[in-house]
């Protein structure tokens, strides 16, 4: 009897005694708007704020925190977290969930990203919204799982077989991890495609103080729903700059989805005209809307004679190098693409017009520099300085400055 009473009492006061979890603490801090968080945490919270309600993934360093946080958070919000048997199953499950109406995301790193490529192509050809976050590590193969590299830039563009345009975003700070995750989900919904978010390993694990916006200031885009009766519905309608409505399974629009080349209704076709139409549609969807897709940061470029072109964590070092060079009176500026694909050809070409030297530092054996070479190949008056490294170490500001001076 006595025992029972004590037990009942303990149960009653339990909620007050419950230790707040790390995330609840984080959430509290967040209400105060300033919070210290990792890039991976920022991705997870960005995803939630953008309305992500489905995550399927497979553990892989250095992206695992994204899965861990969403495993904790999604069930609380009525969303689904599922750990699949591999990365192929993960991309497949998020694509299936998206067709059922979910805002779906997965996170991985190089080896998993390679496995997902077929599924990414499927999401693109079937025009199914989804987001793949790739926290890059040193490759090829297993490489250096806890070290930083930017080796998947071209894979993000060309990894899947066949021609298919890509939307790939590249943040350089924890805050931008949050913002670009929201943007990635928004763009995937708007353009009905698989959007890729590339993070550098260092960024995924780096902690920075971030002021997250009020939810009222977060712009969330969701797919357009069809308003026509089911028998008029075309799964791949051609109006409005190729941004067509998307019905979900179970809503009365019984359509077909296939990875085969298909017609506007989604049925397989071998007709040359219909095949050409589909391919053009996939291409134009991106090229017609390039102004909406491209984001590029220009830093001290107004009077610059030397431009550093860098993305992600390397751009952080480059920014410091710009300040150091400016102190020595060297007119240097920085161009940093937030959208690396579609590559901002026109914007970059314009910004490099008055520049004599372009410095391209990157943590790979020359992936970003190919695009710059392509843009400046007809110019005899410009010089290109490449700084490339794949050994797990970062490129420092002084190194950029030194190589720049040597090359000038």
């Amino acid at each position: 009897m006595n025992k029972k009473t004590t037990k009942a009492k303990t149960t009653k006061i339990e909620p007050a005694e419950k230790q707040p979890t790390k995330l609840e603490e984080l959430q509290e801090k967040r209400e105060r708007k300033m919070v210290l968080m990792q890039g991976n945490e920022a991705v997870a919270f960005g995803a939630l704020d953008a309305g992500c309600n489905f995550f399927a993934g497979y553990p892989i360093t250095p992206s695992t925190e994204i899965a861990e946080i969403l495993a904790l958070e999604l069930p609380k919000r009525g969303g689904v977290f599922v750990q699949m048997e591999d990365e192929i199953a993960s991309i497949s499950a998020i694509t299936g969930a998206s067709l059922a109406g979910a805002k779906a995301l997965t996170a991985t790193s190089g080896p998993g990203f390679s496995l997902m490529q077929e599924g990414i192509g499927y999401a693109k050809i079937t025009e199914t919204p989804c987001v793949v976050v790739n926290v890059q590590r040193v490759g090829p193969s297993t490489g250096m799982p806890t070290s930083c590299a930017q080796g998947d830039m071209q894979q993000a563009r060309w990894g899947s077989h066949g021609d298919s345009p890509a939307i790939v975003l590249y943040p350089d700070s924890v805050k931008e991890c949050y913002e670009l995750t929201i943007r990635a989900i928004n763009l995937s919904e708007k353009y009905r495609t698989c959007v890729i978010l590339l993070l550098d390993e260092v960024l995924g694990h780096m902690r920075e103080a971030v002021r997250l916006p009020d939810m009222a200031n977060v712009r969330v885009i969701s797919r357009i729903k069809p308003t026509v009766p089911p028998h008029w519905y075309k799964h791949y309608d051609e109006n409005q700059k190729y941004l067509s409505p998307l019905a979900s399974f179970g809503e009365g629009y019984r359509y077909n989805v296939t990875g085969l080349t298909h017609d506007q209704l989604g049925f397989p076709t071998n007709k040359a005209t219909e095949a050409a139409d589909m391919m053009e549609r996939l291409r134009k969807k991106i090229t017609y809307n390039i102004r909406d897709l491209v984001q590029i940061e220009s830093y001290k470029m107004e009077d610059a004679k030397i431009a550093i072109f860098a993305a992600g964590i390397v751009a952080r070092a480059a920014k410091a190098a710009v300040s150091m060079a400016r102190q020595e009176g060297i007119p240097v500026g920085l161009l940093r693409p937030l959208t690396i694909w579609p590559f901002p050809d026109d914007a970059v070409r314009k910004m490099l017009r008055d520049v004599d030297v372009v410095v391209v530092p990157e943590l790979n054996q020359g992936q970003l520099v190919r695009e710059i070479q392509r843009l400046v190949k007809d110019r005899s008056d410009s010089k290109l300085i490449k700084i490339q490294r794949v050994n797990g170490k970062l490129i420092s500001p002084t190194e950029i400055l030194r190589k720049m001076k040597e090359g000038m």
């Binding site: 399927a56 599922v82 969930a97 019984r254």
Partner: protein, 280 residues
């Protein structure tokens, strides 16, 4: 079958531009499709709530022809896509159409894990003993010594027992039948759809044009006859001595048990976490 008029199958098919279908004369896939449609027509399910998912292969072309929500996915991945659909909208009836190569070779990993999770999918695996669409290559269910284009001197690998595999992985409903036994297939499909958990039906089928020709099995009628004569119902098989069961197809519901279903468990978990006071 008697109480379902012939018109039913016609009603449940898509007619605009989809026919003629891709299957060869004598193929069992259409017969199995007939059984599936008759099973569904006899149930109280709206077509809007049926999602038919498939991978790649001859049998996987089936969804294109039927008037449901249809999802023709990548080779081997049908169950993984179906898992995503089902988890996001658990009220939908998700049926996976797959083949022996699709489901047990390239997709074997997804099969065993979906069975382990006991997610409420109905997998109808049409087993024709080799890869038909690519022209007769050896699959995990090609019998020992059988000829395939990639086993021209006879297959030296042992074949999978698909039902044993599914049961070993934890599937809660497992059945085997043949394309000859249409009424049995129809009943099994119905029971599998009604079963709350992962269900797999292996339908042994005939591919007279490729497998039959390579292995001198005769034409479609001979292969149909073989399915009839060479199979025994489970009840009869139990009474037969093992030597008489050698090489026979045992038909019937091999396992049916109730285990916690994955989507239901997830819903419970979600409810529990929310009751604990997870913030919005």
């Amino acid at each position: 079958m008697a109480n379902i008029p012939q018109r039913v199958i016609h009603d449940w098919l898509r007619h605009d531009k989809k026919f003629p279908h891709v299957w060869c004369a004598g193929c069992s896939n259409g017969i199995v499709l007939g059984s599936i449609i008759r099973a569904l027509a006899g149930m109280d399910i709206q077509r809007d709530d049926i999602v038919m998912v498939s991978g790649i292969g001859c049998s996987s072309r089936m969804p294109v022809y039927v008037d449901f929500n249809t999802l023709h996915t990548l080779h081997g991945r049908a169950i993984a896509y179906a898992t995503g659909v089902k988890l996001h909208k658990p009220h939908l009836k998700v049926i996976v159409i797959t083949g022996d190569g699709d489901c047990t070779a390239i997709g074997g990993n997804h099969l065993i894990h979906a069975a382990r999770r006991n997610i409420d999918l109905t997998v109808i695996l049409i087993n024709n003993n080799m890869y038909g669409m690519t022209g007769g290559q050896c699959s995990p269910t090609t019998p020992h010594d059988a000829i395939a284009t990639t086993a021209p001197y006879g297959n030296i690998e042992p074949d999978f027992n698909i039902c044993d595999l599914a049961m070993g992985a934890g599937a809660s409903f497992v059945a085997r039948t043949t394309a000859f036994h249409t009424q049995e297939t129809q009943n099994m499909v119905r029971e599998a759809i009604e079963h709350p958990g992962f269900s797999l039906i292996e339908v042994i089928s005939a591919c007279p044009v490729i497998f039959g020709r390579l292995n001198k099995k005769g034409g479609a009628p001979q292969m149909m006859k073989e399915m009839r004569d060479n199979s025994v119902p489970l009840a009869a098989a139990d009474k037969l001595p093992p030597e008489k069961l050698e090489g026979k197809i045992v038909r019937g519901i091999l396992r049916k048990e109730i285990r916690p279903e994955f989507c239901a468990q997830y819903a419970d978990l979600s409810k529990r976490v929310q009751a604990m006071g997870g913030e919005k």
